[in-house]
Symmetry: C2
């Protein structure tokens, strides 16, 4: 669904008014039927014989993804990865905003890195409440990930993106998206060796 959102935002920016499932699917490398069925979950939005109206569909996808409001994010870990994420397009542009950067290193706390003031992790709970943070990003070393996840959950954050190579066991009601850099490389190594 995020893919559809991006494809439609592109078309919208380019001023395209309508697009058929075949065109959309081709631009995303998907089967047209898959795309039609996915979009049908949002309602009957297509015009038979014509396709989909880009602006209308974009609005529906945006609502489905709850991108019609702003999502403040907390990034935990102000190392290289945390800073890179804080400055990346995906995290700051559009519907997401890096509300705070946290670390436990006294040398970093209080300084401004990448345009963001670094707070101590102890301030997490307070800032989650003040800023309305609902999404937490774990960009710490592996051995700190569990504790940071626990603190985020305790502060009321129930949606996490975890970049640490650790499987987080979470209580029901909490969601985690795991982003595992070395796992990506390992599957490529597997396929690479087979050629």
């Amino acid at each position: 669904m995020p893919l559809y959102h991006r494809a439609l935002a592109d078309l919208s920016a380019r001023g395209v008014a309508t697009a058929s499932s075949a065109e959309l699917a081709a631009s995303l490398g998907l089967n047209p039927a898959t795309l039609r069925r996915d979009l049908s979950h949002l309602g009957s939005l297509g015009l038979r014989g014509t396709g989909y109206e880009v602006e209308t569909l974009l609005g529906s996808v945006r609502r489905a993804l709850a991108l019609d409001r702003d999502w403040p994010i907390a990034i935990c870990g102000a190392g290289h990865l945390g800073l890179a994420l804080a400055r990346s397009e995906g995290f700051s542009s559009g519907h997401f905003r890096v509300a705070a950067l946290f670390d436990v290193d006294g040398a970093k706390v209080g300084t401004t890195l990448g345009g963001c003031l670094v707070h101590h992790l102890d301030e997490l709970a307070a800032m989650v409440g003040d800023e309305g943070i609902a999404i937490g990003v774990i960009a710490t070393p592996a051995n700190a990930a569990h504790e940071v996840a626990g603190r985020l959950l305790a502060a009321g954050v129930r949606a996490l993106v975890n970049f640490a190579p650790v499987v987080l066991s979470l209580p029901p009601g909490a969601r985690v998206r795991q982003v595992d850099l070395s796992a990506e490389l390992e599957v490529l190594a597997h396929y690479g060796a087979r050629r």
Copy 2:
């Protein structure tokens, strides 16, 4: 499969000799049957009544993932993300090694960032040959991703990790792993709004 590799490497480092499918699965949050079926693809490695011998199984998984050799990697894009990746554990420790960092920015080329000399993208083809690079990482802005992917493929690199928010259309025989930061946030926003 990379998850199994990591779990087994952990157990091995902690000196554990054997583990049952139930124990392994619990530590990864999986169903034991799923794990047994996955491992059965590697052969009949378990000891009935006992479980799996950690070292033996680790060796088999390592071979299956082709991690019994070194994989030199090229990172294209020496921005914040590219540098963070170059310094990350996952990319340098173990079986992977950042062999070269590339950019097109003349101000960066020739300097040493994060312990790596930055080469101009024009040197890509030569260095792929010299270093035996088989995996390329795209850490460029979205609008440069297509061209960089093309250059990597032209140089003979057929395995890519793409961090740019662009769907790459590749010739058959090439593999891509897409890592999409904003897509992760968007699915969390979707679920977050439903609670």
